[in-house]
Amino acid sequence: MRWYASAIYVFLYLPIALIVIYSFNAGRYAMDWQGFSVEWYFKAFANPFAMKALRTSLVVALWTAVLATIIGTLAALGLERVRGWLRQAFDVLIYVAIMVPGVVIGIATLIAFVTVFEVVNPVIFAVFGDAVPRLSMGLPTVIGAHVLFNLAVVILIVRSRLAGLDRSLIEASEDLYATPLGTFRQVVLPLLAPAILASFLLAFTFSFEDFIIAFFVAGPDSTLPIYIFSSIRRGITPEVNAIGTVVLVVSLTLLIAAQFLLRERGPAKRRGDTA
């Protein structure tokens, strides 16, 4: 490898490596190595604020993954039947959703939520008075924003698997007396399962580690990345490094698992004569 290529890798990964290394620092200050210790991990897990943020993040990531996977899979199945300009329009929108920077999604969803609340809240007040709480930023808004951008990821993954699905397997199932629903349940779904599970893990990961979008729409509840960000302002401690390392390990594990699921398996597919 050329030296400048190596330099790029060093530039990219050295900070991450340092965070992992200094999370095992025995000293009180992040960059002052005092020997090996795992005490900051215990401190982090004993920290009620960090744990609350972790719980919030897990809840958000789980709901995001569940909703995005279900809606995204259904959308991918539906889009498979759409043709012509409508399909192209959807394709463009899906790619745009992935390309748009997080900060734009954050601001846009924030404005959208605020606008909706301004319309809906007076109505709620007029109808129910103070008996029903008004809509405001919180976990549901973070989940909503996260589902929005993860939807595109799920659609793309499931659809690519769907496109690779041998049409004759579906016909074979119909030929063997399975109703359309039976075919979906017994053939399409099992064959899509790895892609669906992989997109679930990816959506979970992207939601779990997202800071920018959550920062705009989270309201008073802070997710783990937001908690880390606010702790850093009080100085970088080995505890922050420990939390960062935990996030890193969880994310990497899920990403590798997703990659593993998306591998091609089984015998190579053959295309038949369609005369």
């Binding site: 074979a172 030929d175 089984g266 004569d273 005369a275």
Partner: protein, 378 residues
């Protein structure tokens, strides 16, 4: 055979003036066909001739644009594939990769409502795997099976449902030559044993001729000719069939006189031929441009003219261009002044008792009047 209310035999499958269009493309054009119960019928033709479309309309994957498809006398045009009493063996086998061999074979039974009891399913799966000689492979994954084994799983998966008709879409195309021969014999035996109507789609004429009771030759979405393999070989209706079923020489000429089934033809290259037979449905008038078809094995070669059998349709002097060794036969490519290039096929005798003709050697060729078949010039 099943009988209709009027006592007449009802065909298991029938096409009534079936046309199928895909946009501008006409894949099937006015198909008329009746397939009897227990028959082994083949659709034979090059790719794009509409044979697969015809099969898919029986299976229910395509609906005719015009006309009716009947199964057992009942119109099934709108009946979805999963309600039709037919099963298909796909070209790619289309075995379910997420299920093992036994679950693949049991798939059709498991869709029945009410679902047959577990023991019954196990028993029938075992019996089917016995039939295709795959006992002991129940728990194998599909990709652990060889091409020939996958083929047999696909057959078992279709036959376990005891369909009225088994549809086979180029089922042997993916197998190597030796295995294909074995499977052809196996399929034929299987068909006789189970007595189910088989409909085969293939572009391999040898496969169609060797396995089927009846063959439909297709071109451009239409049936050109249907008949027994021997019928098609001996009495092709036109050049297309004569060319597609076996090899044939065609000599262009003009009708001089026509009488009975035969005709005297003046060949374009000079000389005349007395042809003993005329293609079905062709009426000849003097002056018509025609083709005289002669099968290579009907042409006899000799070194001396008086060694040829007497009473031939024509005697031609020619020169050997090329000799092709085919094992039990030798094929000669010859060239004559009057006929141009033509092929002959001779059984190969021991080279100790008979010296084969060499390239460049001058020979005499002859064929009988019965061997000469007059067909349209197209």
């Amino acid at each position: 055979m099943r009988n209709g209310q009027n006592g007449a035999t009802v065909p298991t499958v029938a096409f009534r003036n079936v046309t199928k269009r895909f946009g501008e493309v006409v894949a099937a054009n006015g198909l008329e066909l009746e397939i009897r119960s227990g028959e082994f019928l083949s659709f034979l033709g090059p790719s794009g001739c509409g044979k697969t479309t015809a099969l898919r309309m029986i299976a229910g994957f395509e609906q005719p644009s015009e006309g009716d498809v009947l199964i057992d006398g009942t119109r099934v045009n709108e009946l979805p594939a999963y309600r039709r009493p037919v099963n298909m063996v796909f070209q790619s086998y289309a075995l379910f990769p997420h299920l093992n061999v036994a679950r693949n074979v049991a798939y059709g039974l498991l869709q029945r409502s009410p679902r047959p009891p577990r023991t019954e399913i196990d028993r029938r799966v075992a019996a089917m795997l016995d039939l295709v000689q795959l006992r002991g492979f129940e728990n194998r994954r599909i990709w652990e099976m060889s091409g020939g084994q996958q083929q047999r799983v696909a057959l078992a998966r279709a036959l376990i449902n005891e369909p009225k008709v088994l549809l086979l879409d180029e089922p042997l195309a993916a197998l190597d030559r030796k295995l294909r021969r074995d499977m052809q014999i196996e399929l034929q035996n299987l068909q006789r044993r189970v007595g189910i109507t088989f409909i085969l789609v293939t572009h391999d004429q040898e496969e169609a001729l060797s396995m089927s009771d009846r063959v439909c030759i297709m071109r451009d979405g239409g049936i050109v000719q249907q008949g027994t393999p021997a019928d098609l070989y001996d009495r092709p209706v036109n050049r297309y069939v004569a060319d597609f079923v076996g090899k044939s020489n065609f000599f262009a000429g003009t009708v001089l006189t026509a009488r009975g089934g035969g005709a005297v033809i003046e060949l374009d290259g000079g000389g005349t031929v007395t042809a003993g037979r005329t293609g079905e449905g062709l009426s000849l008038l003097p002056g018509d441009a025609v083709s005289v078809a002669v099968r290579p094995e009907q042409i006899v070669l000799a070194r001396r003219e008086d060694a040829l059998p007497a009473g031939g349709a024509a005697t031609i002097s020619a020169r050997v261009q090329n000799r092709i060794f085919l094992g039990e036969h030798i094929e000669y490519l010859l060239r004559s002044e009057t006929l141009g290039e033509f092929l002959t096929l001779a059984p190969r005798r021991s080279e100790l008792t008979e010296r084969p003709f060499e390239a460049g050697e001058a020979v005499f060729a002859a064929f009988s009047t019965e061997a000469a078949l007059v067909l349209g010039s197209e």
